[in-house]
Amino acid sequence: MEQVGQRKIDGMWLTVVGFAVLFFLILPTLIVIPISFGGGDFLEFPPNSFSLRWYESYFSSIEWMSATKISLIVAVMTTAIATPLGALCAYGLHCSTPRIRNTAQAFVIMPLVVPVILTAVGVFSLYAKLGLNYTLTGIVIAHTAIALPFVIVTVMSGLQNYDFDQELAARSLGASRAFALWTITVPQVKFSIQTGAFLAFVTSLDEVVISMLVSGGENATITRRMFNSMRDHLDPTIAAISTCLIAVSIGALICVRFLGSRGEVNE
């Protein structure tokens, strides 16, 4: 009896600690939401009054809107390029010999391991020669490079749970490799691809360091403008924008979950 009671208390502790960790993980994210609805001129928590004025300030500012547009365009383009590229890369690695796979994987994962600031400085100096700094193309290429590993890693793990004989079976039954890949393999790793796409999108949208160096002028991303704005005059518009970004991220996550739950077959 005593032991059972002891176990119950242990279980309770685990739950408490678990929730505490969860709480501290999301608290900093959640705190900006009430701040963004404050009526005062400064970031304050808890806010003294309720108002939508900072949202109004965000949505009515041409500068903020254009930066938002740039960020969304960059994120969508990064996703559009990184997802098929990363998925095909994962497929290629999955099909190759273990030696090639391990070597290539090390290179592919590099952008995840190397401090972003190094990547940013490298990209900046390279772009200076190529004339790609402050261009949309430049920022999309840089974001694609750092988003690719997320797509590759998620799709590769998806492929690991997939019976690859299915694709061979389809090919032996008369399907070309591309047709077998598209009609048999892709539908079954769809969820991994969507997750990879989501991560690519969020990676690009949230990215600050590379954007600080490489984007600018009329092609400045929202994160870059937010950083500059914080340096110059800190006002709760930042909180309103952050809240919107959180909403977009969560929205994208829900999309992936919703799409993924349909048609995904797990055997």
């Binding site: 299915q166 061979l168 079976a169 032996s172 039954l173 077959v265």
Partner: protein, 361 residues
């Protein structure tokens, strides 16, 4: 629909190496039209590599593969017109049973209504008529394998390849499916190449068996001849139960210790010395003296093991060591086996005296 005609497969000098490992070492093999040929060998022997080369998934380093009179070596898998069955079934889990079976027809541009009719007919052939609307995860292992079979034959391929299709099934079902597959082969007019590591399965189903070892074909024979007249120690050891004793061969006669062995079977050439292969059920227990015409392997009973359908007697031979003898249980009762420590007469007849080289030349 065109008249179906099974095809010959001619493999010559096929080579494939992975680094320093020869997965296929100059393999040549001719398979007749409509034959059921089994590639039998231990894991890593190259039998699956050979099958994958036939399917087009492994690109050989050299050699030739011909289906009928068409060279296939550079033909991509989807243009080889093969049906293939995998160990993992490889069914498409997001499609229904009927959609799975109709997949090859759909690719071939068969009309929707024909697809339906032919898929259902193929399912009836494997005794799964009416299962078309089921989902794959609603099927048992045996049913899944039947669907995979139906899918591989629905487009009436002239050649069907099977990669250990029954090894994921339990023993009872596996034995049942072996008989069914054999019967199905008689109905289909197709050449079947079957890969397995299970020698009993190979003996049960095949017209001929090709024993594969270290990327080479050791012997191609009918099951009976393979069992009765193996050409190498590997084949003798891999197929059936046996014990082996070292013998010396000179001028076409073999000697076990001091005694010359009488054998009706040809002694294959090879390297690394020769061995006498004794199958436990081919030894005859003689109550009296061993007849002059047979080889005498008599000794003392070391142990008697009752195994239900038969009795295994372990005999301590005077000079060569232990020999196992299998006696059917009812016969053991009739002749009355000697008990432990007593002398037992063992005759090995010349037609059962198998002498093989250690390595094939």
């Amino acid at each position: 629909m065109f008249a179906n005609k099974s095809q010959t497969i001619d493999i010559s000098n096929l080579c494939k190496s992975y680094g320093s490992v020869n997965a296929l070492d100059d393999v040549s093999l001719n398979i007749s039209a409509g034959e059921f040929l089994t590639l039998l060998g231990p894991s890593g022997s190259g039998k699956t590599t050979l099958l994958m080369a036939l399917a087009g998934f492994v690109r050989p380093d050299g050699g030739s593969i011909r289906f009928g009179d068409r060279e296939m070596i550079t033909t991509p898998p989807h243009k080889r017109g093969l049906g293939m069955v995998f160990q993992s079934y490889a069914l498409f889990p997001f499609m229904t049973v009927a959609e799975n079976v109709a997949y090859p027809l759909k690719i071939r541009g068969v009309s929707k209504s024909d697809q339906k009719i032919r898929a259902e007919r193929a399912l009836e052939t494997v005794e799964l008529g009416g299962y078309g609307n089921r989902r794959i995860n609603q099927l048992s292992g045996g049913q899944k394998q039947r669907v995979a079979l139906a899918r591989a034959m629905v487009f009436e391929p002239q050649i069907i390849l099977m990669d250990e299709p029954l090894s994921a099934l339990d023993k009872k079902l596996r034995e049942h499916m072996q008989i069914e597959l054999k019967a199905l082969h008689q109905k289909l007019d197709a050449t079947i190449v079957y890969v397995t590591h299970d020698q009993r399965e190979a003996l049960t189903m095949s017209d001929r068996i090709a024993v594969v070892n270290h990327g080479r074909i050791e012997q191609v024979e009918t099951p009976e001849r393979l069992y009765r007249q193996p050409h190498s120690f590997f084949v003798a050891d891999f197929i059936g139960e046996s014990i082996s004793l070292p013998v010396t061969v000179a001028k076409g006669t073999a000697q076990l210790g001091e005694r010359v062995l009488k054998s009706d079977l040809p002694i294959a050439l090879g390297s690394g010395g020769h061995r006498l292969v004794v199958r436990p059920e081919l030894l005859e227990v003689t109550p009296g003296d061993v007849p002059e015409t047979a080889n005498d392997l008599s000794g003392y009973v070391h142990d008697i093991i009752y195994q239900g359908d038969s009795v295994l007697v372990i005999v301590q031979h005077d000079s060569v060591g232990q020999i196992n003898v299998r006696v059917p249980a009812n016969r053991a009762g009739q002749i009355g086996l000697p008990s432990k420590g007593e002398r037992i007469g063992l005759a090995l007849h010349p037609e059962d005296t198998i002498i093989v080289p250690e390595h094939i030349s």
